[in-house]
């Protein structure tokens, strides 16, 4: 009898410690995870802190109250009114949207062809697309510069859009192709039995179904174009025709001591991507995940 009670009590303490251990493990997990997240995000926080009131790290740690008292958004106004930033921003928007529209228009049919139709040469074409990703951008930039010089396309935004197709198109086709491969094979065939042509079936059946995938591909293409540096650097000389990355790259020397302005500009260049990111998060996550898994 006494031994019985003894065992029960031992069991219950065992149960308690196990629960406690479980709680401790969970708390430890959360502490680890969220402190890692804080470390990962700290550069972004610092970018914001300096943009509203330029300060060194030591002085910030010593007296954050002084920093908060002096915080304002004047650097953002200076960026917008006292530099070429607004031109760069506008040009970046035009070029990224233009390159995205152009490559999505062209890549949809190409990706359908490679992802869904069975014909000789298809695999070779798929491999060729992957190989174009191995062309160094600088290697293309030198001859493109010479050609654009002959054609009078240097300093032209439409010329830049055309050049961007060199890297946006293969990537877009590669990404969308995986999606088409995973659609049930009989979809457009059913429409074709009803008397529609292949093109008609694609337009009426496949395109509506793949709208989300096309949207995802468009986001990724747009991000590639928004980030592009070297083609813009080579093909545009006039500052007001420049895009954000090379424009801001040159800016560093000019405003080397105005870190508030540089950080305000850095955040300004980030905003469009952040907006897209938060609005279309789920598409992006799916696109990143499936784009790779399904290829």
């Amino acid at each position: 009898m006494a031994t019985d009670t003894h065992t029960t009590s031992e069991e219950s303490t065992g149960f308690l410690t196990e629960r406690r251990a479980d709680l401790a493990r969970r708390a430890g997990f959360h502490a680890l995870l969220w402190s890692l997240i804080a470390i990962v995000l700290s550069p972004v926080l610092w970018m914001f802190i300096v943009s509203v009131n330029q300060i060194g790290f030591q002085s910030f740690i010593d007296d954050p109250a002084a920093w908060a008292a002096g915080a304002d958004f004047s650097a953002y106004f200076r960026v917008w009114y006292e530099s070429d930033f607004p031109y760069w921003f506008r040009n970046s928007l035009i070029v990224s949207l233009g390159a995205t529209a152009l490559s999505i228009g062209v890549c949809t049919l190409g990706a359908y062809s490679i992802g869904r139709l069975r014909y000789k040469g298809r695999t070779a074409m798929a491999t060729f697309l992957l190989i174009t990703q191995m062309f160094p951008a600088v290697l293309l930039a030198i001859p493109l510069f010479l050609v654009f010089q002959d054609l009078g396309l240097v300093n032209s935004l439409s010329g830049l859009v055309i050049a961007y197709v060199a890297f946006t198109l293969p990537f877009a086709i590669w990404m969308l192709r995986g999606f088409y491969e995973n659609l049930p094979q009989s979809l457009e065939e059913a429409a074709m039995i009803d008397g529609s042509t292949r093109l008609g079936a694609v337009v009426r059946v496949i395109l509506p179904l793949s709208a989300p995938a096309i949207a995802t591909t468009a986001i990724f293409t747009w991000v590639l174009a928004w980030n592009e540096f070297i083609f813009a650097l080579v093909l545009i000389n006039d500052s007001q025709q420049q895009t954000l990355p090379p424009g801001m790259g040159e800016w560093v020397g000019q405003f080397a001591l105005n870190w508030d302005m540089l950080m305000a500009g850095a955040i300004g260049a980030t905003l469009p991507m952040l907006i897209v990111f938060f609005l279309l998060q789920n598409y992006i996550v799916k696109g990143l995940a499936e784009g790779a898994v399904k290829s």
């Binding site: 955040i267 990143l288 290829s295």
Partner: protein, 309 residues
């Protein structure tokens, strides 16, 4: 649904023929045509012209001078070139390995069931949503000797008076690499996470019943399942890393000396600042050779994983 022309006419053509002539084949090439024309104009033609240019001495203004293979012969014995080639390879492959490992670590953390999981995932993805140019400016500030937080922490912890992160030839390449890893590890994190979701849970249960430890399960179940994803991501990411320009150009311009110089930045400098378009093209062709060799060996080794059915 390929219509076999041979069947319609009552005889069989050899396989190759109906492949080329089937309706599906015609549509296939027709749909592919706009892409091929576009890529021909902006990708293949410039590539060929770049290769052609590498046989000339050309400053971009005067007449190109034919020099044959001179540039290539020169490159082979040129220590500066080999140093930069080494930098480029170290930069690309070391950073991919580091970001893959960090991505894997975060994927393991996020693969649990816990409250706030989707918020955590979103927050960790954030570096990916910041353009390179902003990252370059931001990390230049982080590395700033006087004002930067990194040296600030070193001083707070009493470890040192601060390191010249991007100002010294010892640390520059590594410091830029850190920013590059920071931006790209979410890419690996997400794809690994997606890969882990595809693993059937009963595999782990069976392994548990058989008495294998967590580490064993990870090695024998998780890792093999992640391999196809990892293969594709590693290929793409190493090609993108080899090709990357912005961070290095904006953060150090390849300096001090050539300590953080990589091929894309170097080729740009040679072509557009020193006006050596021919020599720059030859270096670019050498870079193309490295990328193609790596890419094609990779494709051969992992053909199934990359999806060349």
């Amino acid at each position: 649904m390929a219509t076999k022309i041979g069947e319609l006419r009552g005889f069989e053509l050899p396989r190759e023929y109906y492949h080329w002539l089937s309706k599906e084949s015609v549509w296939g090439w027709l749909f592919l045509l706009p892409s091929l024309i576009a890529l021909g104009l902006v990708s293949v033609y410039p590539l060929l012209r770049g290769i052609y240019l590498s046989f000339f001495e050309y400053d971009g203004i005067g007449e190109p001078q034919w020099v044959g293979l001179d540039h290539y012969a020169f490159i082979l014995g040129w220590t500066e070139f080999w140093l930069i080639m080494r930098n480029t390879l170290v930069w690309a492959f070391a950073s991919v390995v580091i970001m893959a490992l960090i991505g894997l670590g975060f994927a393991i953390l996020l693969n649990r069931d816990f409250r706030g999981r989707s918020i955590a995932t979103t927050l960790l993805l954030l570096p990916w949503a910041i353009p390179f140019i902003s990252i370059a400016l931001n990390w230049r500030l982080l590395y700033n000797f006087e004002l930067g937080p990194l040296n600030g922490f070193l001083r707070l912890a009493g470890i040192s008076e601060g390191l010249p992160w991007i100002a010294s030839s010892r640390y520059a390449l590594f410091s830029i690499m850190l920013a590059w890893v920071w931006r790209n590890f979410p890419f690996f994190m997400l794809t690994f996470l997606a890969g882990m979701k595809g693993i059937p849970g009963d595999l782990y249960e069976a392994a548990h019943v058989d008495g294998s430890s967590r580490i064993d399960s990870f090695r024998h179940i998780t890792l093999p399942f992640l391999q196809p994803v990892a293969v594709v991501m590693t290929l793409l990411m190493s090609l993108w890393s080899l090709n990357h320009f912005t961070l290095i150009y904006v953060m150090t311009g390849g300096g001090p000396g050539n300590s953080s110089m990589v091929l894309p930045v170097y080729i740009y400098e040679r072509a557009f600042h020193l006006g050596e378009m021919g020599l720059a093209s030859a270096i670019a062709v050498a870079m193309l050779a490295v990328m193609l060799t790596y890419g094609l060996i990779y494709l051969r080794l992992y053909r199934e994983d990359v999806g060349g059915k």
